[in-house]
């Protein structure tokens, strides 16, 4: 009864183990034949799917480079826009507009986004309905189409209560509201990843709640928070749809101002140029795409690098 199951001694158990081994081998043998072929075909299909996505990405990058290359040069950035002379037109005012708008976005999303994340992670009581509503609301806002934020910007910021008019500040605020959920969600993840023992240690030494957050939790969560902010800024840099509604389509030949006068941004200017019939404008638009992709991809890869570099398990 107490016989070692690995080295059976009696004839009956030996019979049983060989039977079991045969059955297992038979099951595995079939995998060596037809099933293995099917498995390989399946894996090939998976790889095919993945490579479709990667191929399109590569094709887009290469194609933009090839199409826009003839107009790449310093005058692309230093020259202002023109509707009549595509050969000399550039993106100066649009790039300045993008810098203004994105600067405003950063000024809003960093305090508000990180503040909301701290509140939800460190202060909020999950059982209260208001906090649950806030959570659900942020998740939903992250999925609201960007053009709807454009409508909000038009009705609420350009006109209506804020009444800023079609200025860069309006575009900035619209984009800030659009990317705010991204920042909040990323910052929450980062703050949640800081182990409670760090907070408890700080509190036990007599630090107040805010001192603990400012000197322990936030510094520890900083790489994750920064990653979220950079990804949000990259998205704001490339976003065009909501800006169409809040005035960025105006054709500006002068350097834009934050609170008055017309403005445009790089993606909107690209869209405008691409709408024109002549081929030169198309090349100009594609050269703009290279500049925009360069900016956005640089930010995105920096964010990814930052996350991988500072990713640590406590």
């Amino acid at each position: 009864m107490a016989a070692d199951p690995i080295t059976p001694t009696t004839g009956r158990t030996r019979l049983a183990t060989t039977g079991a081994r045969r059955a297992t081998e038979a099951a595995l043998m079939s995998a060596n034949g037809r099933d293995r072929l099917i498995g390989m075909v399946f894996q090939a299909l998976l790889l095919l799917g993945l490579s479709v996505a990667l191929f399109m990405l590569a094709a887009l990058l290469v194609w933009s480079l090839v199409e826009g290359a003839p107009r790449l040069g310093p005058e692309l950035i230093t020259n202002g826009p023109s509707t009549v002379r595509p050969a000399e037109a550039g993106f100066r005012t649009a790039i300045l507009g993008t810098l203004l708008v994105v600067g405003g976005v950063v000024a809003v999303i960093v305090p508000v986004g990180v503040g909301a994340a701290i509140y939800l992670e460190e202060y909020a009581n999950r059982d209260r309905w208001l906090n649950r509503l806030i959570e659900l609301n942020i998740q939903n806002l992250a999925g609201v189409p960007s053009i709807v934020f454009g409508i909000l910007g038009l009705a609420f910021i350009v006109r209506g209560p804020l009444n800023l008019g079609f200025v860069a500040a309006a575009g900035s605020l619209t984009l800030a509201l659009l990317v705010l959920p991204t920042v909040i969600i990323a910052a929450r993840e980062a703050i949640r990843a800081v182990p409670p023992s760090i907070r408890e240690g700080s509190l036990a030494l007599g630090a107040t709640r805010w001192q603990t957050i400012r000197r322990q939790t936030l510094p520890a969560a900083m790489p994750g928070v920064l990653t979220g902010v950079i990804l949000a800024v990259a998205r704001a840099t490339g976003e065009a749809a909501p800006l169409l509604l809040v005035g960025a389509v105006t054709f500006v030949t002068f350097n834009p101002n934050f609170f008055e006068g017309g403005y445009s941004t790089l993606p909107v200017q690209i869209f405008n140029y691409s709408n024109r019939a002549q081929d030169e404008f198309r090349v100009l638009a594609m050269a703009g795409v290279i500049v925009m992709l360069g900016l956005v991809l640089l930010m995105n890869s920096f964010a990814v690098w930052l996350r991988n570099r500072f990713e640590r398990s406590w």
Partner: protein
């Protein structure tokens, strides 16, 4: 908070009831708490502002145009001399885009997700995931131009038997939107499949199942709520996508299912019409908001469904 305070002061000398209270009122701490709460509440205010700014002009719109004229008519010609407000052509235009987008995003996204979660080595994952994230970060204007100037001619060359006389093609725009949403489908489905406990896979292998069977019959069904959520979210993104359809699908409202035709989607109508200074309160202005309300409602329903589904897989396995 109070329990932590009292625990901290209890270690001090002269443990008395007076020490259990904070030594100062700490108004600064309270003010910071209020500021942080205000930041969080702002997001609710944004949603409220969206709803209010959509609904007020929409109610005005329905004072001027009847429900029947909006939902039962099949001609969308809002800026003509004899305006018609039948919303179906732009709704069907949007659905066309969603159909082609999902036709691409579901197989490509799920294949990528299954590969990443079940087949890829840790090293391959570490390289492929960031690349997919780069694809997710490409500005939509660039994707739209790529679809219009590169993908449409390529499609016309590959499928010469179709009628490519229209410059804009809803099929090409939809495929481009689909490729754009592949990272979304892949990343959420990958998360859901990786949340399936290893014990379930090992049980399958223990019973002699092949990797294919473990992936498709054990992991896939166990992660189904997350997978469906990723597809619903991709649908929601396709409904709301603006620049790609504006550039590549055109602006002609048409009730058609032909992928080579030009259509107008709800988003393209809003972006195309609101570009330029439309006076507040006119019928043109209100029409934008009526379409916007429809768009917002559609994506809201899709998002809530997806959020529910994601919560379910998180509850079961995490």
């Amino acid at each position: 908070m109070t329990s932590i305070d009292s625990a901290a002061s209890a270690t001090g000398p002269g443990f008395s009831s007076q020490l259990l209270e904070a030594s100062s009122r700490r108004y600064g701490e309270k003010a910071i708490g209020v500021f942080l709460a205000a930041c969080a509440v702002l997001s609710v205010a944004v949603t409220t502002a969206i709803v209010v700014s959509l609904l007020v002009p929409t109610i005005d719109f329905f004072r001027q145009v009847s429900f029947e004229a909006f939902f039962l008519d099949t001609t969308w010609a809002p800026r003509q001399a004899t305006s018609r407000f039948g919303v179906w052509p732009i709704v069907v235009g949007t659905l066309n885009v969603v159909f082609w987008a999902l036709l691409v995003a579901i197989p490509v996204g799920l294949a990528s997700a299954i590969y990443l979660s079940e087949y890829a080595s840790a090293r391959a994952r570490k390289t492929i995931k960031p690349v997919l994230e780069v694809l997710a970060g490409i500005p939509t204007v660039a994707i739209g131009l790529f679809a219009f100037f590169a993908m449409r001619p390529a499609a016309a060359a590959l499928l010469p038997f179709l009628d490519w006389s229209s410059l804009w093609s809803v099929g090409v725009a939809g495929v481009a939107v689909g490729l754009m949403t592949v990272p979304l489908v892949a990343s959420i489905s990958d998360d859901a499949m990786r949340a399936v406990p290893a014990a379930l896979r090992e049980g399958g292998y223990g019973l002699g199942a092949t990797k294919l069977k473990v992936s498709l019959r054990i992991v896939f069904p166990a992660a189904i709520s997350g997978i469906i959520a990723s597809i619903v979210l991709a649908g929601s993104r396709a409904v709301g996508e603006t620049m790609v359809v504006l550039i590549a699908a055109g602006r002609t409202p048409a009730l058609t299912v032909d992928p080579t035709r030009s259509v107008q989607t709800m988003t393209a109508y809003i972006a195309g019409t609101a570009t330029g200074d439309i006076p507040t309160g006119t019928l043109d202005y209100n029409t934008i908001f009526a379409v916007g309300t429809l768009l917002f409602a559609a994506t809201l329903v899709l998002n809530l469904v997806a959020i529910r589904l994601v919560r379910r897989f998180r509850e079961v396995y995490e």
